[in-house]
Point group: D2
Chain length 272, copies 4
C-alpha cells in the first residue's frame, strides 16, 4: 500500500526534525518538559506555578486561556485576560508559553501570545483549524484524537505541513479503550510507530491519559524510559482548588521529585 | 450522580421533540429517510440521484458540498457551486436539503442553502461550531463522534440547545472498536439509551458504519426494526465512479428494494 | 493473504450448512428461537418457563446447569440436578435442550443430556474444550469471545470441525467496547462477514449484549431484520428473583409480543 | 459499591505478597526478569538461550511445551518432551522454569516440571483450570485476558486463592484496542490500579503486547520505570527461524543491552 502522507513521512525527510523553542529542542533526543496548570486562573496562580516548575527544571510553561469543555456550563477559560497573564509569566520567568487555540476565530489572538500553539484532541480533525495552523510561524503541538489511528494522526499533521508550517510536535495523550481504571490508556507503542513512519518529534502527556494523580508519576517515568521527545505535565499549586483537572494535577513538590528521576532515566536511555 | 445536561434531558422535557422539515417529521415514530450521495459532484449527478431516491420514497436529499477529508490531497467538495446544485435539486424535486457545515467560516453560506445543517463526527466537539449552530434557525443533525460516550454526545447537543436552537437530531453512525470486518461498529443500543435520557430524535446512518455496500442493507433493516427516528443512506447512480465513499453507496435499484422492506418493517414495529 | 481456515470456509463448502434439531433448522433462512432462563434454578421454574416460551413459538429451550461465573462466590449452577430438570422439560414439552459445557471434565455428562452443547464466550479459545466438542455427535453453539476478531472466531470453529463435528452454530453476543450504556455492543456486521466467509449458520443473542431488559426487545427485532439464522433470548417467569441475569431477562408476556413481531419482520426480510 | 473480591484485596491483606522462586522475589520492589523463547523447540535451542539469558541476568527461564494456538494447524508444542528439555535447562543452569498449563488434563504433568505455572490470556476465565491451579503448591502467573477489566482479572485470581494457593503473580500483556500499529496496547495504568486494589505482585510482558521486536525494548524500559514487579521477555537465538512469535523475540545481544539499562532504570525508580 502506498502511504497516503507525504511531507510528514520518513521517505520525504530522513533525518529527525528538530524544533527549537527557547532553551528547548524537540527531536534531538533531549527530554524537554512542559509543565503548568490545565487552565490559567489568575496572574498570581500562573506566576507561582511557573516559578516552581522552572525551578524544578521545566523548559516551557503550559496553561489554557481558551478551554474546550465537554459541558457548556463548565469554566471556559479567561480568554484574552488569560493570555496576558501568560505573557507576564514569560516576561518574569523566561519560559516560553504553550497554549491552546480552539478555533480559527481566536487563532490570531492566541498566536500573538503563544510560543507554541496547541491543537487539542477534540480538534485533531478540525481541518479548518489545521489549515490555519499551517500558515502560522509558530510551532504546533498536535494532540492525538482519542480514537485516532496512526495514519489519521499523521494525515492531520500533513494538513499543517502542506500549508507551509513544518514545525509540528505530535503529542500522545491516551486513547479510548474499554478500560475504567484510568481515564484513557496511554499508547506507548505509537511513539515507536511514529518515529518509524515520520521525522516529526513526539511527546507524551501522561496527565490527561491518567486522569488521576497517582498514575501520572509512573507514566511520566515510563515516558522518559520509552524515549519520547518530551513530556507535558499538569502541575497546580493547589490542585484541590483547581478550576479544571485538579484530580490529575501534581503538587509542586511531587513535580520536583519527578523531574529528578525522569532526568536520570533519560540519561540512561539516551546513552549509546 | 446528577446529570450534567439540562435542556436535552427527559427531566427537562418529557414529551418527544418533533422536528418538521418538508413532509418529514423526526421524533413522531415515523421513519423519514434521507438519501443521496456522499459528495455533490455535478448538477447532473445530484439531479439524477435525487429523482430516483424521491421516487423510492426518500423524504430528504443529502449531499456534501464541503467535505471534511482525512487527507489534504483528497477531493474536498465543490463548495458554493455544490450548494447551488443542491438548491436546484430542491427546486426540481421539492426534497429538503441536508448538507454539512464544516466550520464557522462557511456556516452562513451553508445555512443559506440547507434545510438541515449537518455537523460531522469529527466536529462533534468543535465547540465553536456547535455554538454557531445554536444560533441558527435550521434544524441540526449532530453525528456522534467515533468514540463519544452517550454523555459527551448529549453534552455536545446541549451546547446547541443552550444557544437557543432546540431542533437537534442525533445521528448514530458507528463507533470505533477493535473490529476489522466493518469500518465501524453500529451501536444500536445507544438509540435506546438516548430515548431514555433525552427527548431529542435519533436517526441511524448505516452507510458510514458499514463502509461496504453489502452490510448497508441489513443494517438499514435493523435500524427500522430497532425503532430509530429516521435513516440516512448513501445512494449513488454510479458508485464505482463516486469521488468519495463509492464502496458503501447503494445502487438506485438496491435503494428501491430497501425502502420497500424498511417501510414494511417499520409498520410492524410501530404497531401498538 | 491466504485464509488460515479451511473447513469452515465458503471456499471449502459453498452451500450453507443446515443444522436440524427437533423442529428447528439453523441455516436455511428460517428464524428458530431459543429461549429460557440463564440458569436452571428448580424443576418448577424450568417447566413453567418452558411451557410459556413454547406457547409463544420458541423451538428450543435454554438453561444453564453449569454456570461460568466471574466470581467464585456467585451461584455456580445446579450441576447434574439441573441437567435432570432439563431432561424433564424435554420430555414434557418436546423442546430440545441447549445447555453449556464449561470444561472437558463434565463434557460427557452434559453431552448425555443436551441436544445442543453451548460453548461460552470465555471458553471460545479453550482449545481442549473445542477439541472435545469436535468429537461429539451433538451440534455445538460457539459463542464469540468478547474481543474476538472474525478470524479468531472462525479458527475456533475450525478446531471443532477439524475433529469431525461439522455442526457448529456461531453465536454473536456482543463485543467489549468503550461504551457504558449497555453491557456489550452487539456487532451486527459480523453476521454479514461470517456469511461471506463461512457456510456455518450464525445466530444472535441480544440478552447478553444488552444486559438490560429494555434494550433486548429492539435488539431482537433488529436481529430478525438483519437476517440472522436464529435468536437466543433469556426469559424468566420471575426476573426480579432470578439467581443470575435477572436484569436482562424478559417477562413471558414480553416474550410473547416479541415473538409475534420478530416473526412478522422475518417474513418480510426473507421474502425474495 | 462493595468489592466483589476478598482474598486478593488490600483490605484483606495490607502488606505486599512476596513470592520467592529460586533467587527471585516477586513483590518486594526488586525487578526479576523471566526470559526465554515462546516455544520449546529442541534441547539444544533451550539450553543455548537459557545460558545466554542467565548470563545477561535473567532470574527465570520461560518456554512453552503446550502452546495454545489460534489455528489447529499451527505448531502445538512438544508436550512432555518439551517439559523434559526444560528440566534439563533447570539442571544445567539452575534457572527455575516458567511454563504454561493449558488445561486440567495436562495440569499434573506440567506441575511436575514447572517452578511457576503460567495461565494464558485465553484461559483467564477458564474457571476449571483456575480451580485446579488453586490446589497447586506452585506459584501461578495469571495473564490478563485481552479485554478483561481490572475487576474480572482480580476475580479470576480470587478463584485461585479461594482454593488455597496464595501465590499468584498477575501479568499484564496488552489489551485489545482499535490500534493497528502494535498487536495489543500495553496498559501501564493497570499496574497502579492493581497495586492499589491488591497485595499481589504484578509483572509486565512487553513481547506479546508489541508483537514486533522494535517496540519490545522501549516497552521493557518503560515497564522498569513504571515500577512493575518483574518483566517477562521473549528471547530466541534465531528469531528468524522461530516456530512461533519470532517477529517479537529479541536477539540475545539485544537482551543483554536491555538488561543493563532496565537494571539501571530500576535502581533509579526504586530509590526512596
Amino acid at each position: 500500500m502506498t502511504k497516503p502522507y507525504k511531507l510528514v513521512s520518513r521517505e520525504f525527510k530522513q533525518e529527525n526534525t528538530h524544533i527549537n523553542v527557547g532553551d528547548a529542542v524537540f527531536g534531538n533526543e533531549s527530554l524537554p518538559v512542559i509543565a503548568g496548570p490545565c487552565a490559567v486562573e489568575s496572574e498570581k496562580q500562573v506566576l507561582a506555578i511557573a516559578k516552581s516548575v522552572k525551578n524544578a527544571g521545566a523548559k516551557l510553561f503550559r496553561g489554557g486561556a481558551f478551554k474546550p469543555r465537554t459541558s457548556p456550563y463548565s469554566f471556559q477559560g479567561l480568554g484574552k485576560k488569560g493570555l496576558i497573564f501568560l505573557a507576564k509569566v514569560r516576561k518574569e520567568t523566561g519560559l516560553p508559553i504553550v497554549t491552546e487555540a480552539m478555533d480559527v476565530e481566536n487563532f490570531d489572538l492566541v498566536e500573538e501570545y503563544a510560543d507554541i500553539l496547541q491543537i487539542g484532541s477534540r480538534n485533531m480533525q478540525n481541518f479548518s483549524l489545521l489549515k490555519r495552523a499551517g500558515t502560522s510561524d509558530r510551532p504546533v503541538i498536535l494532540k492525538r484524537g482519542m480514537s485516532a489511528t496512526l495514519q489519521e494522526w499523521l494525515m492531520a499533521a500533513e494538513y499543517i505541513l502542506e500549508q507551509g508550517n513544518r514545525n509540528v510536535i505530535l503529542c500522545e495523550r491516551g486513547i479510548r479503550t474499554f478500560v475504567r481504571h484510568s481515564r484513557n490508556t496511554l499508547d506507548f507503542s505509537v511513539v515507536s510507530a511514529v518515529k518509524k513512519e515520520s521525522h516529526l518529534p513526539i511527546i507524551i502527556d501522561p496527565s490527561h491519559a491518567a486522569g488521576v494523580r497517582d498514575q501520572v508519576t509512573p507514566l511520566a517515568y515510563a515516558a522518559a524510559a520509552f524515549g519520547a521527545d518530551g513530556v507535558m505535565i499538569e502541575v497546580h499549586n493547589h490542585p484541590e482548588k483547581a478550576m479544571s483537572d485538579g484530580a490529575q494535577s501534581l503538587y509542586p513538590e511531587q513535580f520536583l521529585t519527578l523531574m529528578k528521576k525522569m532526568t536520570a532515566i533519560h540519561t540512561i536511555v539516551a546513552k549509546k
